[in-house]
Symmetry: C2
Subunit: 442 residues, 2 copies
């Protein structure tokens, strides 16, 4: 061309990524499965805007998430920002709509959030969150249901070996109260959070240094959170050690009810672990807390975490909204499922590939494709009558299990050549039997 | 409280909206149905970032969409913006990945886009787009498939009366060429686009004024685009009037093949309308163009539109990428479906509501809920043992069709009281028959 034009280099921003079909399809599949589980418990979807007033999102303000917010002035000069999680928008949403929606209110929310954070450690600046919550009730039944939902989510995704670790913050709070350390609980929780990383000895040292606990108190706390055994045994033991504190007793009773319901309903017992060492870093949680570890990949950390909180939306409304919920770590799960071979790896969404052997026979191919689709068979027809080798190579690369070929001979005889791309076999199948043949074959 | 604290007023930005369950559920349903259709043709999903370099999105620059872009400097000082459609990101995506993905490439993309435009006329600043395209092929088979996909989309959403209007730009281009008006085609198209609004007389006047067409030429053009009759008749008539121009002849042949395939495969003939008056405002389209009107609500305009283009990604790559595709107007369709009663109006995602008659029986309710879910029945259990009236009111307001009640009497007898919320009837059903009873009842 005489008008030489500079091309704009095609690229995405650092920390952002495209989802080609090979990534987008498994993500859709994962989200579909999660949604089906949420819906099976009566959780309903909501959505909120990507952009909100910065004032809404910063809330109390001053923490790490503020610095990471994509914040700017819009066309009207408003101070706006992209949401950095789904919890703050949910709190704003609840404050605004709960009067009309009524309580209890059970919602799930799956969508992208944005954080301009450091992209080391494979973190993305745009990623999906997948949250579910029950708000407007203090009832332990909602805490129990949360664990059942977590169980069904992991099972629906195909995991067999996983453990939902459950604790109740009331127990540790009660223990600290009975030890006269209620004031120091934040410092003690901070120390305890490092138990896995630095070990009991260093945690005890930190407690005596930063939380003014005595050596004996620190050891008492550590012994409690490290209580091991079957779930019922742990609860019995804790009951003996701090069950005379009302707060701790309430936490123990709630956990006991949870364990009984889980086992009583026939959920596999080994998938529920009472684990007094988990606290979840957030100050936010006040009762039951959850973490979920994969038996085959414990090192990737918790894939579904959450807990009970006293008040969701206190920044925006005077209405007291207690609740309980958890968040499914989609990206982490995708990586785990890929590693464990739980993801389909085809690049096509269809099952059947129809070769366009000749352009003249296009109407026959289109009519066949329609019949197959009407029978629920997803069918792609190649758009051009190119060489058959090229078309089959395309089908193979995309991962189609089955290709159909109808050349002049086949059309003359009223058959279709069914080629199984998985084993290379092929068979001629009569036109009026092809639907049932393919249904059986897939 | 002594520490009086100011609440942050909970509100969304102008032009943005929340989706409570009553809006989010139908949208999920609509998207699910669209995805199933796309997949049934072998279209695979992709996703691209919400944020891109502004340079990528402005592309040629200078047009209306630029002014509407949410554009700002990110943490690293990069000039970034929120995508305002899914076409530009797809062009960038294709330029970047098509070498690896290969052609033909069929994708769908469903996601939010942002435009800081005027919010009059009920327009939102955040809305979903739903696009599908086949790129990397000139073959008319892809144009034909596009019309079949549009058909199946509308049918899957529950519409019975709709018409897909199809034209091919080559016909008008050929006619203008044969009239010596090729140079004036932009002005003529602009005039023609107003045909519905201002009528033939004023369009003819505009053509003679702005496109230097003679009165006779203007009338010739208007007569051609207004050719009426059955599809085959229209094509025959056009063939007689301008079939000796190569360009027009190609357009006619492509439309004829499309009509034959559509009818030959058994699609309802009255849902396809050859309509030479549609041009689609965009300069972008070069061949087949599509618009879809609802028989019951023609006034809302086209609910699915698109066409063939010569080159998708010329701004970002030298690789020639012709394609064809269309966009489903989700918001417009949601409004139409609501008006025509095609949307479910429940605020719950579940079918069965279990009353928590007494807290002691919670394990029985949980075990029952699990059995129902395992049988595919979506089941919500009320979290608190509040008064039954209150619980049933909740169930009724949410739109549950069926409630189950198990008080001491029922549990003693080994039955559940099944209350049909739709007709108020109720029946005692034995515990071991309740699953099949409910499956039959729903």
């Amino acid at each position: 061309m005489s008008n030489k034009r500079d091309l704009i280099p095609p690229r995405t921003l650092k920390g952002f990524r495209d989802f080609p079909p090979a990534l987008a399809m498994p993500r859709e599949e994962l989200i579909d499965k999660a949604r089906a589980v949420f819906r099976s418990y009566g959780f309903a979807p909501i959505d909120t805007p990507a952009l909100e007033y910065s004032e809404i999102l910063t809330g109390k303000g001053g923490d790490e998430s503020d610095k990471q917010m994509y914040r700017f002035a819009d066309h009207g000069g408003r101070d706006v920002a992209l949401r950095f999680d789904l919890t703050v928008p949910f709190a704003r949403f609840a404050a605004q709509h709960i009067g009309q929606l009524g309580t209890p209110f059970k919602r799930y929310h799956i969508g992208p959030v944005w954080r301009g954070e450091n992209t080391q450690h494979g973190r993305y600046r745009e990623f999906y969150q997948c949250d579910f919550d029950t708000i407007g009730t203090d009832a332990n039944a909602a805490d129990i249901e949360t664990v059942l939902v977590i169980h069904d989510l992991l099972a629906a995704l195909g995991f067999e070996r996983f453990a939902i670790h459950v604790n109740n913050r009331l127990i540790l709070n009660g223990l600290l109260e009975s030890l006269g350390l209620a004031e120091a609980s934040a410092a003690i929780l901070r120390a305890l959070d490092k138990l896995q990383k630095i070990g009991a000895e260093k945690v005890a040292a930190e407690m005596t240094e930063t939380a003014s606990a005595s050596r004996e108190q620190a050891e008492n706390i550590l012994a409690t959170v490290q209580t091991a055994g079957a779930n019922a045994e742990i609860l019995d033991q804790i009951e003996r050690s701090c069950g005379d504190n009302d707060r701790a007793a309430e936490g123990i009773a709630n956990l006991r009810q949870l364990v009984d319901a889980f086992e009583g309903a026939g959920f596999p017992e080994d998938r529920l672990v009472i684990d007094l060492s988990i606290a979840r870093g957030l100050d936010y949680y006040t009762g039951t807390v959850y973490e979920t570890l994969l038996g085959d990949l414990p090192a990737i950390g918790s894939v579904c975490s959450g807990g009970r909180y006293d008040d969701l939306a206190g920044l925006y409304t005077k209405q007291h909204l207690p609740g309980v919920g958890a968040s499914l770590g989609l990206d982490r799960l995708m990586a785990a499922m890929e590693e464990l071979g739980l993801l389909q790896d085809a690049a096509t969404s269809a099952d059947i590939f129809i070769v366009q052997f000749s352009a003249e026979a296009l109407p026959s191919y289109i009519a066949l494709a329609r019949r197959l689709r009407q029978a629920g068979l997803r069918t792609e027809l190649y758009p051009e009558a190119k060489g058959m080798g090229r078309q089959l190579k395309y089908a193979d690369r995309k991962g189609f299990p089955i290709a159909l070929i109808g050349g002049p001979d086949e059309l003359e005889k009223g058959v279709w050549q069914v080629k199984d791309m998985r084993d290379g076999s092929s068979a001629d199948v009569k036109d009026d039997e092809v639907v049932s043949y393919l249904q059986a074959r897939l």
